[in-house]
Symmetry: C2
Subunit: 208 residues, 2 copies
Amino acid sequence: MSSITVLLVDDHLVVRSGLRALLGTEPDFEVVAEAASGEDAVQLAQALSPSVVVMDLAMGPGMDGLEAIRRIRDLNERQAILVFTTYDSDADIVRAVDAGAMGYLLKDAAPGEIFAAIRGAAVGRSVMSPPVASRLFQQLRNPDEVLTPREAELLGLLTEGLSNRELGRRLFISEATVKTHLAHIYTKLGVDTRAAAIATAIRREGMR
Amino acid sequence: MSSITVLLVDDHLVVRSGLRALLGTEPDFEVVAEAASGEDAVQLAQALSPSVVVMDLAMGPGMDGLEAIRRIRDLNERQAILVFTTYDSDADIVRAVDAGAMGYLLKDAAPGEIFAAIRGAAVGRSVMSPPVASRLFQQLRNPDEVLTPREAELLGLLTEGLSNRELGRRLFISEATVKTHLAHIYTKLGVDTRAAAIATAIRREGMR
DNA sequence: AGCCATATCAGCCAAAAGGCTGAGGCCGCG
DNA sequence: CGCGGCCTCAGCCTTTTGGCTGATATGGCT
């Protein structure tokens, strides 16, 4: 009976057709459209109201996945959105969830996991890949280690290679304040040099 | 007549089936097997001698793409191997080419490009995505900016967040030597702090 | 043999970063 | 209304880094 309609969003054609092929093996799924950009995704989600939007976070130029999630939620609060991406970055997970994603799946998930996640999302359940879940739990267990928004901002600029002076100028704060923030960041990240902070930041936010 | 036999290697099921679906639309391609790991790839390449091996560099745990390329070339010098990956990292491109790849395609390539690249590889021609090609040319044009092996090694450890002292210990050289190498690395990368060096190193080697 | 790239090391000095202590203002929550 | 988290800033002192100049050794290429 009523099948689950799915909108696929990914900037890679091969991923879209792979997913389409995969979902085609299950009788209750129906891929109603594909989008290669955030813009298209928003438009198609509005036009078609699919049961579930399955989308990658990394998108080419233009609107990124997170922004697309927000826009889609703005149009329809109840739209189920499932993130389907390659990397399990701490920041991305958190951001995706609070942008309104129902679940977070990694691309190396087994077919069964993918099916279950989509079916779950369709009925309003949250699903996530085990590695993703464990990261989230860790964040909840160690709230001490979570950076404040300002610290995260600093850390972001830090990974651009800026000096303390430049950081200060960029953020309209004194160099003293920059050093204070950095000291906090270091203790939270468990490092004691900016180099190590950059390294762990990029590896944490980046991949693996 | 004689169709082009293809071995697909990618750790993501969706990518494999997407590619299979895509290649299925062209009558002259025949996907003879899929491999999800480097180990399987080597074995299948040897057993089936496909016209072209299309593979991702990023592979889960175990043998990575580069290693798999080398192994396959060891077994059969003439085997055509086409790298099909998401990111165009300077280092990866160079390494893939000298590991023996015939071409280097990005996953966001248009279907036509993909077909052309595989057909080209099958007859011994080298093909690469435009952005990839431009990077290679840039490397050839600016040999001054190419790091020596030792410098590259240092840079690698630098991105782990090590201090000069630690770098020295790790490489069994004095801190003075470390500083000399770093100075050279900085001028070659066009930066003047280790933080910036780490940042550009990771962004260059990393992705985008 | 001479030359060049690479790798190694030293010393000196200035600039940047890091550790520590203390402190004021703002805001939300009980 | 007080407590605590967050953001802001200062001063002081040590360590680390970076810039510069110069030197030795090795190995390959001409």
